[in-house]
């Protein structure tokens, strides 16, 4: 299952501060869409509005529409808890639950969904860890603490935890920024593999990464500090990186800006 996301007139606030204004874009199913832009341009904020994690922060709120296959995430009857079960997320710093083993980390989301059968859990753990390219490395120590793995393994464990609940969309907020180059490569390979099953949105500071893994790229920017971030250009990745329409995009991707 994979899902199209339509964002219309999205504006996000932190208290009185308008962090990002009037974003319109369409994220295609089974594609990798990258959000790039300078720090503070609101790309992570927009990502977090896609599974209603933005509003978890005190004072944070959202205006506008986010349609997931036509259904408004911010509609009156929509429960953010259900949204987050459909739209999974991987964070900047690997955050496996330190009190849980590798096995327990993978099934954490399944347990929230009420899955209790041992055989089913076992099967999903193997499936998810294989899906996250981690199974071979940890299959003999599933009972060991998840926090004992290396940073790159922890991040793949977090990806396994996110895909274990079979979401339709996977959001990744700078998933490689805390990792070394080898682990980064492992995650990038994994993203390419996962896109056959999920709609993936990735925020990255690394433009090479965006050009390597993504099909479409959204470039966000802001005029000056204190102004809200805006979507400058959204197009096929090949176009953004070779022949962008906007001057600012060209300056940014060629390294002349920021």
């Amino acid at each position: 299952m994979a899902t199209r996301i339509d964002v219309t007139g999205l504006t996000a606030y932190y208290g009185k501060f308008k962090a990002v204004a009037d974003v319109n874009l369409t994220i295609e199913p089974k594609n990798v869409t990258a959000f790039i832009g300078p720090s503070g341009c609101g790309k992570s904020t927009v990502l977090r509005t896609l599974n209603r994690m933005h509003e978890v922060l005190p004072g944070a709120r959202v205006e506008g529409k986010v349609l997931l296959d036509g259904e408004d995430l911010y509609g009156a009857g929509t429960d953010p808890v259900n949204v987050r079960r459909t739209v999974g997320m991987v964070f900047q710093r690997p955050n496996p639950f330190p009190t849980m083993s590798i096995y327990e980390n993978v099934i954490a989301g399944l347990k929230l969904n009420g899955v209790r059968k041992k055989a089913l859990l076992d099967e999903r753990v193997e499936e998810s860890l294989r899906g996250a390219n981690l199974w071979e490395e940890v299959k003999d120590r599933l009972g060991r603490p998840g926090a004992g793995l290396s940073g790159g393994q922890q991040q793949r464990l977090c990806i396994a935890r996110a895909i274990a609940v079979e979401p339709q969309v996977l959001l990744m907020d700078e998933p490689c920024s805390a990792l070394d180059p080898i682990s980064t490569l492992a995650i990038e390979d994994l993203i390419t593999k996962l896109k056959s099953s999920f709609t993936i949105v990735i925020v990255t500071h690394n433009m090479q990464q965006a050009s390597r893994v993504s099909d479409a790229t959204a470039f966000f920017s802001l005029e000056k500090t204190g102004d809200p971030g805006r979507l400058v250009e959204f197009d096929k990745t090949s176009k953004i990186f070779t022949n962008p329409t906007e001057k600012r995009t060209e300056d940014y991707v060629s390294g002349r800006f920021g």
């Binding site: 330190p98 969904n113 603490p145 996110a162 080898i182 490569l185």
Partner: protein
């Protein structure tokens, strides 16, 4: 992953700029002044002075404890050798009689039971308060409440004890009768009469230890990294599920430590319990019956009129309290240590 090692070399070359700059190594600390070079001698002297100062303080404390322990044991032994009853199993307390006959059984029972019931009442409430403040309350309310709880924890427990005694205890009769009527089938709540019972003492103790346990638990829950809370929420956890998945497991060792501090206070509390309980020396399974005594309350009540043997007997009971507190702490530490590698402290 079999592909990783093959690619590692080019990958590191292509993108390894960030990892190339290693911080310069710090010089080794000058903790051995004898071999330190002349240029560093001032630092060496300061280290030496500080090291000896801390060592003296540490050893001095140990020596002080040892001296106190020896004194207590000597005084206790004197009384225990004159005792005609078995100290651990005798319920009566007649150390001033000739021949003296006394035992710690009744007061030890009262101490353990009242402290245990106080914990059963106070810890869940305290954890609830701490969770409300850290997870549920809106930001402004949460900072105000956190401040108030810290303030309450700093008030000496005897103040709560007196409040409990003067204001609360008179109203306890109705609750006790209700428990007796509806839960009398549980042996603990059975019995023919209710009054100044171990249960009332327990409630007073619970009120005393509530603020300290709540304040420490709040501190512990605040330490739960936002990343873990967000991880749970992003998996589709409700707020309660987030607490169960991320907050409580992470905070468990801290809550256990907080409870132990509360338990220590409850077992050592003297005046309030001495005022509530009728100071009878018998073991009664009926929590609500007007009976019972604790070791600490017995010391407070009995010290004034005790003779030499009597004081030795009270000191001996104090030693028992010390040993019980130690055993409880060892058990608590063992519980915390059992899953240390899962505690999150290494993450």
């Amino acid at each position: 992953m079999t592909t990783e090692p093959d690619r590692s070399a080019d990958a590191a070359e292509q993108r390894g700029a960030a990892t190339a700059t290693a911080p310069p190594e710090d010089p080794p600390p000058a903790d051995r002044p004898a071999v330190a070079s002349a240029g560093r001698s001032r630092v060496g002297t300061a280290d030496l002075v500080f090291k000896n100062l801390t060592r003296t303080a540490g050893l001095g404390l140990l020596a002080l404890i040892a001296v106190i322990a020896i004194f207590l044991v000597l005084r206790a032994t004197h009384a225990l050798s004159a005792n005609t009853g078995d100290f651990l199993t005798t319920e009566e307390w007649f150390p001033n009689a000739t021949p003296p006959k006394f035992g710690v059984a009744a007061t030890l029972y009262g101490t353990v039971v009242s402290a245990a019931v106080a914990m059963v009442i106070a810890v869940p409430v305290a954890v609830g308060i701490a969770l409300f403040i850290t997870v549920y309350a809106p930001r402004q309310l949460s900072s105000v409440l956190g401040y108030i709880v810290d303030l309450l924890a700093a008030v000496p427990s005897v103040v709560y004890g007196l409040w409990g005694l003067i204001v609360l205890a008179p109203h306890m009769k109705g609750i006790q009768l209700w428990l007796n009527d509806y839960f009398g089938w549980i042996p603990l709540f059975s019995g023919d009469s209710v009054g100044r019972s171990l249960f009332v003492a327990s409630v007073v103790l619970a009120i005393m230890i509530l603020p300290i346990v709540a304040a420490l638990s709040r501190e512990v829950f605040l330490q739960v990294p936002i990343a873990h809370r967000e991880a749970a929420l992003a998996l589709g956890a409700t707020r309660w599920e987030m607490i169960r998945t991320a907050v409580l497991p992470y905070g468990k060792p801290g809550v256990i430590s907080a409870s132990m501090l509360g338990l220590g206070r409850a077992m050592g509390e003297t005046i309030a319990v001495a005022l509530v309980l009728p100071a009878s020396f018998n073991i009664s399974a009926h929590l609500l019956s007007p009976a019972g005594n604790t070791i600490a309350a017995n010391v407070a009540n009995g010290w004034g009129e005790a003779n030499d043997i009597g004081r030795g007997a009270l000191i001996a009971s104090g030693l028992v309290l010390f040993i019980v507190a130690m055993i409880v702490n060892i058990i608590a530490r063992a519980i915390v240590a059992r899953r240390r590698e899962f505690s999150g402290s290494s993450a």
